[in-house]
């Protein structure tokens, strides 16, 4: 608002400039509050529904629960065995994140630091792979995984999740590595480190915020994935969190209470990550879409 104040002050009498600043601020606040209400209401509704007594949800709908209960969470965990699904999701997402971070940092470093034939081609391959949608790949991938006898296993799921994790991680890491000054590495190598040593001891620590952001994006992508899991996983014991919730909505009467409890539980890991690492994520996201 200081910009606006400066502009108007030069062209109009001082008191009306003050009024306009004040009015602008009020308008900004009103818009912000209305938008926030629209953004937050679905989240509020999800949480409140998960805390309502199951029979209240449809029979006596209300914006505020008549009584709070953790019954839905008990049903979800004790009767539906949702913790198994959360553990499966954690195994898959963490493994995908570690593998993607390791291989992608090697590849990104190579493409940023060295000049060689096919480097440009590799860069294109990364981008094309990044933009190739799962909706095209899920049918052939299910055939390939069946041939490899990896269908219906978490290992198979980890492997197919690399289709989006590797390109995303490599693409994002390239822009982080570019910002590490080459001189630092050269100095370290003069001091006796090998190339690989320079990568591990100099480049990676200096890119730590970038690595954190990429880890979160990769984890999030794997945590949220539904289509490939739906196609590949057939047995109940191997279901991930989104898959388990998906199967809760295939019945005629939807168990909204446990379903929303599951939605809340599935959101917790991502919300924790988001509030810890918001700053990194915003930088990572924008660096990933457009550099500069």
């Amino acid at each position: 608002m200081t910009d606006l104040a400066a502009t108007t002050a030069t062209h109009t009498p001082a008191h009306s400039a003050g009024d306009r600043v004040w009015l602008g601020r009020v308008a900004t606040w009103i818009v912000a509050v209305v938008v926030l209400a629209m953004v937050l209401f679905p989240i509020y509704w999800m949480i409140v529904t998960s805390l309502k007594i199951p029979r209240d949800i449809l029979r006596t709908p209300s914006l505020w629960p008549h009584a709070f209960t953790l019954e839905n969470y008990r049903i979800l965990i004790a009767d539906k065995g949702f913790l198994t699904n959360i553990v499966n999701s954690l195994i898959v997402s963490l493994t995908v994140t570690v593998i993607a971070l390791l291989f992608s940092s090697f590849a990104a470093y190579s493409m940023v630091r060295f000049r060689y034939r096919f480097r440009g081609v590799f860069g294109r391959v990364i981008l094309f792979a990044y933009l190739t949608p799962t909706s095209l790949l899920f049918i052939p991938l299910s055939v390939v995984m069946a041939q490899l006898h990896l269908a219906n296993s978490l290992v198979g799921l980890i492997l197919v999740y690399l289709t989006f994790a590797l390109p995303l991680a490599t693409w994002l890491l390239q822009s982080y590595f570019r910002s590490v000054p080459r001189e630092l590495e050269e100095q370290a190598m003069i001091d006796g480190l090998s190339r690989l040593g320079a990568l591990i001891r100099i480049v990676l620590p200096l890119s730590a915020p970038g690595l954190a952001a990429v880890a979160i994006f990769t984890f999030t992508g794997a945590w949220n994935e539904l289509l490939l899991a739906l196609v590949l996983i057939t047995s109940e014991s191997q279901r991930t969190a989104p898959l388990a919730l998906n199967y809760l909505i295939t019945s005629d009467v939807l168990p909204w209470g446990p379903l929303m409890a599951g939605a809340v539980v599935s959101s917790v890991p991502l919300m924790v990550l988001y509030f810890i690492a918001q700053r990194f994520m915003v930088v990572g996201l924008t660096a990933g879409s457009v550099k500069g």
Partner: protein, 299 residues
Amino acid sequence: MTDATIAPPRRRSYRLAAFAYFLVLPVMVLLVGLVGYPFVYAIFISFTDAVVGNAGKWIGFANFAYLAQNPSFLSSIANTVILVLVSDGLKLLIGLGLALLVNQQFRGRGIVRSFLMLPWAMPGFVAFLAWRLLYQPIGGGLSLALQALGLNLGIVDWLGQRPTALPSVIVATVWRGFPFWFISILAALQAIPKELYEAARVDGANRWQQFWSVTFPGIRLVVIVTALLSSIWTANSFENVWLLTQGGPSDATMVFPVLAYFGMQTQRIGEAASVSVATLPVLIILVLLATTLMHRDED
């Protein structure tokens, strides 16, 4: 610096190149195997009558000829086009508006920004399950909230009737997707040097002229790239429609990824693959545009 002259240059650069290839190799091998091969394979089987467990035989364009008269496919294409154009248009307007809002100095803007990002930070499947509940005719939060605001529409089955089904899917998709636009545009706005605005003011430009001469050029590239990326993702999104309506009622919200998934459940994978492959020409154009813009300042 002396070792450069001691080591034979050719040998040294050869070893460096080998090292560079070695580093990039695992990612390339995995991507060729897990993206490249399936990509080609999808195109190949779309020209066959393959079923699960049987490679089938080459049938030329028969699958595509069948699609061209399949009402589900035709509505899935129409719905996908509407979904992409309307929801990405809305995401642009909302994202730009909110980015301009949050780009101002006011108390609490950090909190506003954090909360605006929530729909994007939470899992997509959670978002769409929450919206499915909101849209329930009885016990859904939307009708209750509208009632509380004085808008009593009675019992509306938002997702269950033709006129409201697709708009409802679009609203949920916009809710989930606008933060990506918002944060991308906001970052671009913050990268515009303040001096440019001062210079424009010195030249006598009003707010509107400042927007077109300074703000707009500053965010144009970001908006274009975001539009391309978002269109690709929206066009190929599965979980929004799947979790809200599964394409119903009677194909009113059918989109091609859901249709391909249904096709796969019939075991006729050749025919199912042709659904996605049929959309490839458009996808390839979007991807080429996006990669060219994203790759541009790299070398």
